[in-house]
């Protein structure tokens, strides 16, 4: 078997094109290896050590203790619950609203570009700037309370939107949704334009209503795009950091922390590199499981 494999490899390299192709791949592979694969492997190794970052310090091997610590840490659980809440609310809402806007814009003839630009603007604005704006809107002395109590006089006293866990998380999910609609709109617009017009014409002749066209023609034809958006948005939700860091900073008492803010805190405030590595791997595993489930449920091969 070995000589056979050897000759096959030799034959492969004899082809000039193959060598050229490999040479072209090398720079990319080197960069990927150095900045993606090596850190991942290194982090996996770190998660089994009480990793010391000091000068010439020895890091003792502690087995799965970091993983056990993460599982028994109530704040890690709270951060994960907050992230799941953020994902469960923002992902469907971004898809529904993004698709709705895309459908509306797809059908209009005039000002289509202006509307696209308007809806896409939040996507290109800085996370920090809009997070600060949201903080000013939702803070106790913010715009929302001012409108509700002083202008419209609907409520007698200010509401602490950012003061407690769930209202604060809701405010941050609103920011996530608002900022994500434009991106989804662009993706769905591209998908909608690829749906053959003949299908709609044929269904019109058959007497299908707009709702029937949407569910029986549009949705099945853009199912692949929907899956793509869901997977990307779920990964994005697990990567959310800036709005939380800017709006509440995880306060009060880490009750609004998400997985990344908690990982950052453990890494750079407590220097618990091993804990942070283990937590990151657990999160990566959760995201992978969610992605697998999505692929199984939505079955892209049938699309």
């Amino acid at each position: 078997m070995v000589p056979h494999a050897f000759f096959r490899t030799k034959k492969y390299f004899r082809k000039k094109d193959n060598v050229r192709m490999l040479l072209l791949l090398v720079p990319g592979l080197v960069v990927m290896g150095m900045f993606t694969f090596y850190p991942i492997i290194k982090m996996f190794v770190m998660s089994f050590f009480d990793w010391k970052i000091g000068y010439n310090q020895v890091s003792p091997f502690i087995g799965i203790e970091n993983y056990l610590t993460v599982f028994s840490d109530p704040i890690a659980g709270m951060a994960l619950a907050n992230t799941l809440f953020y994902a469960v609310v923002t992902v469907p809402m971004q898809i529904i609203l993004g698709l709705l806007v895309a459908l509306l814009i797809n059908d209009i003839k005039k000002f289509s570009v202006s509307f696209r630009l308007l809806y896409y603007l939040p996507v290109i604005t800085s996370w920090v700037v809009v997070a600060l704006l949201f903080r000013y809107i939702f803070s106790n002395q913010g715009l929302l309370n001012y409108l509700l109590t002083d202008v419209f006089k609907w409520i007698p006293e200010h509401i602490g939107w950012l003061s407690t866990r769930w209202p604060a998380m809701t405010a941050m999910t609103l920011l996530g949704i608002w900022k994500g609609i434009g991106w989804n709109m662009v993706i769905f617009l591209a998908a909608l334009q690829a749906v053959p017009k003949e299908y709609y014409e044929a269904s019109s002749i058959d007497g299908a209503s707009s709702i029937q066209k949407f569910f029986y023609i549009t949705i099945p034809n853009i199912k692949g795009t929907i899956l793509f958006c869901i997977v990307m948005l779920v990964i994005g939700a697990f990567n959310t950091y800036t709005p939380i860091a800017v709006i509440t900073g995880g306060n009060p008492a880490h009750q609004t922390d998400v997985v990344l803010t908690w990982t950052y805190y453990q890494t750079f405030s407590s220097y618990r590199m091993g804990y942070a590595a283990a937590f990151s791997f657990i999160i990566a595993a959760i995201v992978a499981v969610i992605a697998i489930i999505l692929f199984k449920v939505l079955r892209p091969e049938r699309m």
């Binding site: 970052i53 000068y55 310090q57 939702f138 106790n140 002395q141 602490g160 003061s163 008492a253 405030s269």
Partner: protein, 410 residues
């Protein structure tokens, strides 16, 4: 002939070695200096002037100053501890000394430099004690501070003399639009002063346990008082309530009537809210006195520097802790540690609150000097916040805090 050649060779070798030494002594050395002096307050401009003056007397030493924000300063040292990319001198929070020392990166300054004793003698003993870990000094005090009471003169007519009075006034002046008292955070930096002033402590004096201290009757009573004030809308802060105004803005706009903070607060309030009528007095006393928390910054040096750089760095540190540099820095808000500078007329003129701070410094205390103190502060903040918000009873929350801190002490 052979002997002559040998003699010439040895002589030339000796000369070359001596010559090298001569060259090494005069060869320019560039030292890297990381700091977090405040550019907005004009401190970096003064620093540049001081560096230029230092270069006049030490032409062979070039100081390359790099500003890094507080957290970035810490993160860069953490990263540098692994890579060896560290500065020659760092001026940072007094709390960094035990943390960096635990990373095994700091120079044992009192051992390496025989004249450390003289330099340390020139500065105040209490601030310099923050540079000590175990039996050695890993830094030298750069500047010091503690906290005093700032109050809005339009809201507070009677200045409290005791902490009990302060809490009572906070409750009295609170209304729909006013919150009597504000704390920017709930860590040790903010709570130690009350617990100490009421006669309690955070840890046992030998740092062996937190049980009976952070969850002792005095600490629990202090946090209960804050929880009671929070419940009636007389106490708040931006970490207890992320929707609340930050402390400076809250004071400036009249939302908060009182807060306890360091010398920078006077500058912040005067700059951002020039119309605000505020007063400042020493922190009101508890039964054990007015015991504030010692703050400030220390100069530190790193093992990664070679001998020539360490010598140059030490010269620069001595210059920066000297009378002249300390007076210049006082003009831009840095409270001196140099004893001569503290008594200087110019300093007294530029720091109107200096006498209040000087009195407060007489009775203030340093926070526990232990590498895990940062983590312990995090635990105290989390548990005390849960207690103040009423999510747990104060005793339960502080019992949990004691257990977590005990684990960190092991």
């Amino acid at each position: 002939m052979k002997k002559l050649i040998c003699g010439i060779l040895i002589l030339s070798l000796l000369l070359s070695v001596m010559g090298l030494n001569v060259v090494a002594a005069t060869e320019p050395v560039t030292i890297q200096f990381w700091h977090n002096y405040d550019a907005g307050a004009g401190q970096i401009d003064v620093l540049n002037q001081l560096i230029a003056q230092f270069k006049e007397t030490n032409p062979s030493i070039k100081v390359n100053q790099v500003y890094l924000e507080w957290q970035a300063l810490k993160n860069n040292v953490v990263a540098g501890a692994t890579t060896g990319m560290l500065p020659d001198v760092l001026r940072g929070d007094i709390g960094f000394v035990p943390q960096f020392q635990a990373l095994n990166v700091l120079v044992e300054m009192n051992t390496v430099f025989p004249d450390y004793v003289n330099a340390a003698d020139a500065v105040l003993e209490a601030p310099n004690s923050t540079a000590k870990a175990g039996d050695h000094y890993y830094g030298i005090a750069s500047n010091t501070n503690t906290k005093i009471l700032y109050y809005n003169k339009n809201l507070i007519s009677t200045v409290p003399a005791t902490l009990d009075e302060m809490w009572a006034i906070a409750e009295k002046v609170s209304s729909k639009d006013v919150i009597g008292f504000c704390e920017a955070w709930m860590g040790g930096w903010n709570l130690c002063q009350y617990i100490w002033s009421y006669g309690g402590d955070i840890l046992a004096p030998d740092y062996s346990t937190a049980s009976g201290y952070i969850n002792g009757s005095i600490a629990v009573a202090v946090i209960q008082r804050l929880a009671d004030l929070f419940a009636v809308g007389a106490f708040s802060g931006p970490t207890i309530d992320p929707g609340a105004l930050p402390d400076t803005d809250g004071m400036g706009t009249g939302k908060y009537a009182m807060t306890i903070d360091g010398p920078w607060k006077a500058k912040d309030l005067s700059t951002k809210y020039p119309d605000l009528q505020y007063g400042a007095v020493q922190m009101p006393a508890g039964p054990a006195g007015s015991i504030g928390v010692l703050g400030g910054e220390d100069f530190m040096m790193f093992k990664t520097s070679d001998a020539a750089h360490q010598d140059a760095a030490w010269k620069f540190i001595k210059f920066m802790t000297g009378k002249k540099a300390q007076i210049e820095m006082a003009k831009v808000g840095q409270m001196p540690v140099n004893k001569e500078a503290l008594a200087d007329k110019e300093v007294l003129k530029v720091m109107p609150l200096l006498s209040i701070f000087s009195n407060a410094l007489q009775t203030c205390k340093a926070r526990p000097v232990t590498p895990k103190w940062g983590d312990m502060e995090g635990v105290i903040n989390t548990k005390a916040t849960e207690a103040v918000l009423g999510q747990k009873s104060v005793q339960t929350a502080m019992d949990e805090a004691a257990a977590e801190i005990n684990a960190l002490l092991q």
